[in-house]
């Protein structure tokens, strides 16, 4: 049997891989969910068409990162998968249903004529439900999961509280920022002008929610507080909030100057810093605060076996994803892609 134990730290690599896959998912599906969230607020049907076209070549590729995160979690950390999925039963199912509606709306919208408005709403509400549930799962996740033995032992509605509601709303704004800055980059004319206004509007909320989460997490958990505010950690970690603040300032200036490409990458940077902050706070927990990623890892033979294939296939997928974005770079034409 394949065993890479002596060569590399297999669980660590898997943790990194899944964290990366999840971040790529948040980023990539984030902007197309954001487009869905903003969809009905666009000034005209023509704007909506170009919004839809700007994400059409990408959305299904984006969504496969979620499958890879979920499947990867089961494969590499079955214990974490077995605890987190029942713990977040309802929001996970609702998220999936939202994604189904949104996904098929893409396909059907282009084929429908009279019933197009139905699929427009399916796209919008599907995106909102999926994004909101992801935010709620995040909020519930950082509060910790009640575990006894090797199972979830909490109440079916543990995930539902004011804090997770807040993080749900926060993620809606976060995705709206990614979506609107994506549209600034990919569209022209009134769609772009409107997207810029959206970006300016939502970025204030994103900043506000990031501050709330940053303050509340150390307050809720002594370990997190110790991690961030003890000397010398506080000096090492100070760049995280400082860089985030810097990115917000740059984004603000760019939006007012009328920059077209950079706002999207600045939004990505803001998401990266937020993700990094959460990752640092929760390290090394995979089921907070019950199992670390090492405790939840599958036996090393199993992790090694799948790692071989992953190392071979993942670079190809990444290269292809990059190629796809390169191929469809620049402004989206108003003509339908389909």
């Amino acid at each position: 049997m394949v065993n890479l134990e002596g060569l590399v730290d297999v669980p660590h690599i898997w943790f990194g891989l899944i964290a990366t896959a999840l971040f790529l998912y948040v980023l990539l599906d984030g902007f197309d969910l954001g487009v869905g969230i903003l969809f009905p607020f666009a000034p005209s049907d023509q704007c909506r068409d170009s919004m839809m076209n700007s994400v059409a070549p990408f959305w299904d590729g984006n969504e496969t990162w979620l499958v890879l995160s979920g499947g990867g979690l089961f494969a590499a950390f079955p214990l974490a998968y077995a605890i987190l999925m029942p713990a977040f039963y309802m929001p996970v199912i609702l998220m999936l249903l939202g994604l189904i509606f949104r996904g098929v709306a893409f396909e059907f919208r282009f084929k429908a004529l009279k019933s197009r408005f139905i699929w427009d709403y399916a796209f919008h509400f599907g995106s909102i439900v999926a994004a909101f549930m992801q935010g709620m799962i995040l909020g519930a996740f950082v509060q910790g999961v009640h575990v006894e033995g090797r199972s979830f032992a909490g109440h079916p509605f543990d995930w539902l509280n004011a804090y997770s509601f807040m993080t749900g709303v926060a993620l809606l704004f976060g995705y709206a920022l990614l979506g609107s800055s994506w549209l600034i980059m990919k569209t022209e004319g009134i769609t772009r002008d409107w997207a810029r206004k959206c970006s300016v509007y939502v970025m204030g909320y994103v900043a506000l929610f990031m501050v709330i989460v940053s303050i509340s997490m150390p307050m809720m958990n002594a370990g997190v507080k110790e991690l961030w505010f003890s000397v010398p950690n506080v000096f090492y970690l100070l760049p995280v909030p400082l860089v985030t603040a810097g990115l917000f300032i740059l984004l603000w200036r760019d939006l007012h100057k009328g920059a077209q490409t950079r706002p999207f990458f600045l939004s990505i940077g803001i998401f990266l810093m937020g993700y990094l902050g959460l990752g640092i706070s929760l390290w090394p927990w995979l089921v907070p605060f019950a199992f670390t990623f090492r405790q939840a890892a599958a036996v090393v033979e199993s992790q090694s076996f799948l790692l071989v294939g992953t190392v071979l296939i993942l670079p190809v997928v990444l290269a292809y994803t990059g190629f796809c974005y390169y191929l469809f770079r620049g402004k989206t034409s108003n003509e339908g892609y389909y």
Binding site: L66, P78, A82, M85, I93, A298, E301, F305, I313
Partner: protein, 469 residues
């Protein structure tokens, strides 16, 4: 009342429902991808535009089917955890990598060559496009390989040990991947996918022939489908029989339920029809053919066949479901063989393409493959109950620590969503079929390029969807 909702039963129904829905799409895409490869190969070989026109019609249907397969597949990759978390924890070391490879394979396929296949007709050279189609077809087979390896291991587990906390640990990947039932299941399922597709495509071709529409393309669809019906449908009977004999060795209780046989005896009769009564422990209203069961299963008129009573009551699968699903599957298979034989006779009389009653029959048979695949999976999955991992872990012990009401709600939500979404999907597929193939002047070698392939200014023609991502 609400506290009496049983999470095990509800989770089983939910899993069966979502999986039954899901399996329809991969079954179709496995067959369709391979068939599209053959079509494109014929086109490149002969230069006859009819193959390209047929290809471009069906690749649109492939896209819709694939999309629905992906969204219903995402659900599957989460349900092991949401509903069967104890199972996921215990068997994760073994099934995790198998399903992980399936995800990687599907992902690879989804993220790469599918795009070229669907949108690259005007962008890449014909041979690269053909290669993409072939790779997508191979990808669907690779996906099927891993999923069936995982399923077969759950049916006939081997190559593992049980450690602390009841966790299963792998002892070797070859015995796990190639578990005893895997080769049979793989061949049987892939053949089923090909036949299902053939009958559906053939049904559409027959519909066109009946109505006098799209005659050239209809002949391709119908003719190629009938080749499959003539040669592959009888082969499938043989593959299925081999799979059944393999099941008799490893899961004799499943076979006893299939046969509706309660007493262990020599020279067991074949119950053609009847109603296996679980409480009375006998098959009511049985129409028996003496000794035939022994002959089929042991190849001996007086061979011994185990009856359900050989197992305690809590080790027996629900017999009526298994019994009747099996008969539906075999019955449909027989109708397919009959269709093939009729096609052969008509072909030899040179009447294949203008026999109206036969075309009508083939239209009726269009969904037969789907029904047979579902019935077959019902036999396989219900027949291995009460185990989720045969002989190792019971289904009732595998369920998540969730209560009944959330599962009841999610089941209802899935039911509603799938009805709406897949109803709409079927509607659009029906629309594509009604629209039929587009015919345009085809210049061989140019791959249909009528203008420079600039991504930014391709204007789609009315009623045409391919060519643009």
């Amino acid at each position: 009342m609400i506290e009496h909702l049983d999470p095990v039963l509800l989770s089983r129904i939910q899993f069966a429902f979502t999986l039954s829905f899901h399996i329809i799409f991969p079954t179709f895409t496995i067959g369709l991808a391979s068939w599209l490869s053959v079509l494109e190969w014929r086109w490149l070989q002969t230069g006859n535009p009819v193959y390209a026109e047929t290809y471009r019609m069906w690749v649109k249907i492939f896209a819709v089917t694939f999309g629905m397969g992906v969204v219903s597949g995402v659900v599957m990759s989460f349900q092991f955890g949401t509903n069967w978390s104890v199972f996921s924890d215990r068997a994760g070391n073994i099934l995790g990598p198998l399903l992980g490879y399936e995800v990687l394979g599907a992902f690879f396929l989804e993220a790469s060559f599918l795009g070229i296949m669907l949108f690259g007709w005007n962008r890449v050279s014909p041979w690269i496009h053909f290669a993409s189609t072939v790779i997508v077809a191979l990808g669907t087979l690779i996906s099927a390989f891993w999923i069936l390896a995982a399923n077969s291991w759950m049916q006939t587990p081997q190559g593992f040990r049980i450690g602390e906390n009841g966790l299963l640990y792998p002892l070797g990947w070859m015995p796990i991947i190639f578990s005893p039932s895997f080769p049979y299941r793989f061949v049987h399922m892939v053949t089923a996918a090909y036949l299902t597709t053939a009958f559906f495509v053939g049904g559409v071709g027959a519909l066109y022939l009946r109505r006098g529409l799209h005659a050239r393309q209809a002949r391709v669809m119908f003719g190629m489908a009938m080749i499959m019906a003539i040669f592959v449908a009888p082969l499938q009977l043989w593959f299925g029989d081999e799979h059944g004999l393999n099941t008799l060795v490893h899961q004799p209780a499943k076979v006893a339920a299939i046969e509706g046989l309660w007493e262990t005896r020599r020279g067991a009769p074949l119950n053609l029809f009847g109603w296996p009564d679980q409480n009375a422990e006998k098959t009511l209203y049985a129409i028996e053919i003496p000794n035939l069961s022994s002959l089929i299963l042991t190849h001996d008129w007086h061979g011994e066949v185990k009856g359900l009573k050989a197992w305690p009551k809590d080790e027996r699968p629900p017999a009526p479901w298994v019994f009747w699903s099996f008969r539906v599957m075999v019955g449909l298979g027989m109708l397919m063989i009959f269709t093939g034989l009729s096609a052969l006779v008509l072909y030899l009389r040179k009447r294949l393409f203008d026999t109206k009653w036969f075309h009508a029959w083939c239209v009726v048979m269009a969904p037969a493959g789907f029904a047979a695949v579902l019935a077959g999976w019902f036999v396989s999955e219900i027949g291995r109950q009460p185990y989720i991992i045969y002989g190792v872990m019971r289904t009732a012990d595998a369920v998540s620590p969730v209560t009944g009401p959330p599962v009841a709600i999610s089941l209802a939500a899935f039911f509603l969503t799938y009805s709406v979404v897949f109803g709409a999907g079927s509607y659009y597929i029906a629309k594509l079929i009604r629209h039929g193939p587009d015919i345009e002047p085809e210049v061989y070698g140019s791959h249909g390029v009528k203008e420079p392939p600039l991504i930014t200014n391709i204007v789609p023609e009315e009623g045409k969807r391919d060519g643009q991502p």
